[in-house]
């Protein structure tokens, strides 16, 4: 679809709920993965793909004029795969082969293996640079697509993020939008305890970026911020989306150690009930 029709917020919330269920099934079945990191960014990705933000053609994944979405926090691959299946890039059955031998649905996204994956990520810190490359390429090709890059918060500890931030401002990449999934936790614990990132707004501003903050689970707020940054000229924008790691499943929200592990089948049943509202 070249321009996604606007979808009602209530419908987007329902899509987000179904995507969480997909993520839950994928990772539980695989027995590994990063469900909580995927849950925290579910509304962000839902708004992008299904809220009319991204222009794309699922049957022509390399359509030169497409808007780009780069999942820089590659461990949220299940979320990306859920979106790609729902958008029609890949067969839905494929996502149930996550992390299995002979499947293109790799543990972390691999470019040129699965349609719709714009960059290989999983070693953190790399996606924003690819985004800058797509901006420069669009400029040379005289195309006016936009480039969206989803960053993790822990990922912002990596120096390459700031190299790319500097370059994006230098090249006045005003069609580049970073979204920071600010769930406040990294693998081993709270970010403030492990490697403090604050003041984040000041950091991005000082690097020459336009900064917006959003409630990362409020689709309407996210859509408003995506619309607002389209008007920004001469500098890149970042939406710092405040999120909850594991959002949607209470006992995952309460335990950051779910970062790198799937739910057990018993936990998954509880989570399923909670997401379905039957608990």
């Amino acid at each position: 679809m070249d321009a996604n029709p606007k979808t009602a917020v209530s419908e987007l919330n329902e899509i987000a709920r179904q995507m969480r269920l997909d993520i839950l099934e994928m990772t539980t079945q695989a027995g590994s993965g990063h469900p909580s990191s995927s849950f925290s960014a579910t509304e962000i990705v839902t708004a992008l793909y299904f809220g009319g933000v991204l222009c794309y053609r699922p049957d022509e994944p390399l359509w030169p004029e497409r808007d780009r979405f780069i999942m820089s926090k590659g461990h949220a691959a299940p979320l990306l795969y859920a979106a790609l299946a729902r958008a029609g890039y890949i067969e839905r059955d494929l996502i149930w082969t996550l992390r299995e031998v002979d499947s293109p649905v790799q543990g972390h996204p691999i470019q040129n293996v699965l349609p719709g994956v714009e960059a290989t990520t999983g070693s953190l810190g790399q996606g924003l640079s690819a985004g800058v490359g797509h901006v420069l390429g669009g400029r040379l090709n005289q195309l006016d697509y936009r480039v969206y890059v989803l960053l993790g918060d822990g990922e912002c500890e990596a120096g390459q993020v700031w190299e790319a931030a500097m370059a994006a401002a230098h090249f006045q990449a005003d069609n580049l939008v970073a979204i920071l999934d600010y769930n406040k936790f990294q693998e081993t614990g709270p970010i403030s305890r492990e490697m403090a990132l604050e003041p984040l707004v000041d950091k991005w501003r000082s690097f020459g970026w336009h900064v917006e903050e959003a409630d990362g689970h409020d689709v309407a707020d996210l859509l408003a911020k995506f619309a607002a940054v389209e008007a920004v000229k001469g500098q890149p924008s970042i939406i710092i989306a405040h999120t909850v790691k594991g959002k949607g499943v209470s006992f995952v929200e309460a335990d950051f150690t779910f970062h790198g592990r799937a739910l057990t089948p018993q936990q998954a049943e509880l989570a399923r009930e909670e997401l379905n509202g039957t608990r």
């Binding site: 030169p64 290989t120 490359g133």
Partner: protein, 324 residues
């Protein structure tokens, strides 16, 4: 430098890095999809020629090698042919992870220049020297690895790398190298080694600046009645298995010569092929598990045993081992 003197090779007035700069300008002129990314060393790598002629297709990303590679990968995804350029030491050692994920694993159409390979880069010392680049690149499946040996082969290699669809690493040197091939007629096929001297008593397999040194060594050995074949192994991967098998079978002894660590470089890859195809006595000329130091390139080559004299000595040993 006196490289190629004993073999009667004609000196070339310009350093190989300048030849690279001209070759890059040529492919940029021929192919409008070629873009050049610089790690703020364009005046050393000579990518500045492209900057001067095609400023719109030249990007100085600054002293940020990780970002340099990532942006290059993004441009490749947009259909461009990025030449990602810096000193091999800085680029590979800083941005190995980015080259691994964004280029090699993604199998994109990007070209990586590692300039100032080896120890012959003036007096800047070991921090700037790329003595481990071939070993590092060897750890990245999907990459073609090229090491041109003279001006004509540099032109041919840059063109072949640009035309090839997929990741290519090309090593360049700062020094001037003599002419081995005619400027207008250099045979260069990726993966096909060139026999630059015929011989049946042993084979010297060399790459980069060591090809001229190998020809010098062969000239010395000829006076002793030993006829050495010299193979220019300009492609380290994919390696020309047929040429090596023929060399082992037909000449019965092999010496390798490279301006690189012995660990993981050309020689160790040649040894694996020879061991599988047709084991024969081998000797290895290269850097033996050491960093070097500042100094005049000729002095360094002598001190670290990377000269025609060292190759000839290794050849005599290999030849004797074959006879014994």
């Amino acid at each position: 430098m006196e490289l190629g003197k004993q073999a009667g090779l004609k000196p070339y007035p310009q350093p190989l890095r300048n030849v690279f700069g001209e070759a890059l300008l040529n492919v940029a002129r021929d192919n409008e999809k070629v873009v050049v990314l610089d790690g703020d060393l364009g005046n050393s790598t000579k990518t500045e020629y492209v900057r001067q002629t095609f400023p719109d297709r030249f990007f100085n990303i600054g002293i940020a090698e990780s970002n340099l590679v990532g942006i290059g990968a993004g441009l490749a995804a947009c259909g461009f042919v990025p030449w990602i350029t810096s000193f091999s030491s800085f680029l590979l050692c800083n941005a190995y992870d980015q080259i691994r994920l964004a280029v090699a694993m993604s199998n994109i159409n990007a070209k990586v220049l590692g300039s100032h390979g080896g120890i012959t880069l003036g007096k800047d010392g070991p921090t700037q020297m790329g003595i481990e680049d071939l070993a590092l690149m060897g750890g990245l499946p999907t990459f073609v690895i090229l090491v041109p040996s003279d001006p004509a082969s540099m032109h041919a290699a840059v063109k072949a790398a640009t035309d090839y669809v997929g990741p290519v690493f090309l090593r360049s040197s700062r020094v001037a190298l003599p002419e081995i091939y005619p400027m207008d007629n250099c045979p260069f096929e990726i993966g096909k080694a060139n026999v630059v001297r015929q011989g049946s008593d042993l084979t010297i397999v060399a790459c980069g600046i060591m090809v001229a040194a190998a020809l010098d060594a062969a000239a010395v050995l000829a006076k002793e009645g030993i006829e050495a074949r010299v193979l220019d192994m300009h492609t380290i991967r994919p390696m020309d298995v047929d040429a090596l098998a023929a060399a082992a079978r037909e000449t019965g002894a092999i010496v390798t010569a490279e301006e690189h660590l012995l660990q993981g470089g050309m020689g160790s890859n040649v040894a694996r092929v020879v061991a599988e195809q047709h084991p024969v006595p081998m000797r290895f000329v290269g850097l033996a598990d050491t960093y070097t130091e500042s100094g005049d390139p000729d002095d360094l080559l002598r001190k670290y045993k990377l000269t025609a004299v060292d190759i000839a000595a290794a050849a005599r040993e290999a030849y004797a081992a074959k006879a014994g």
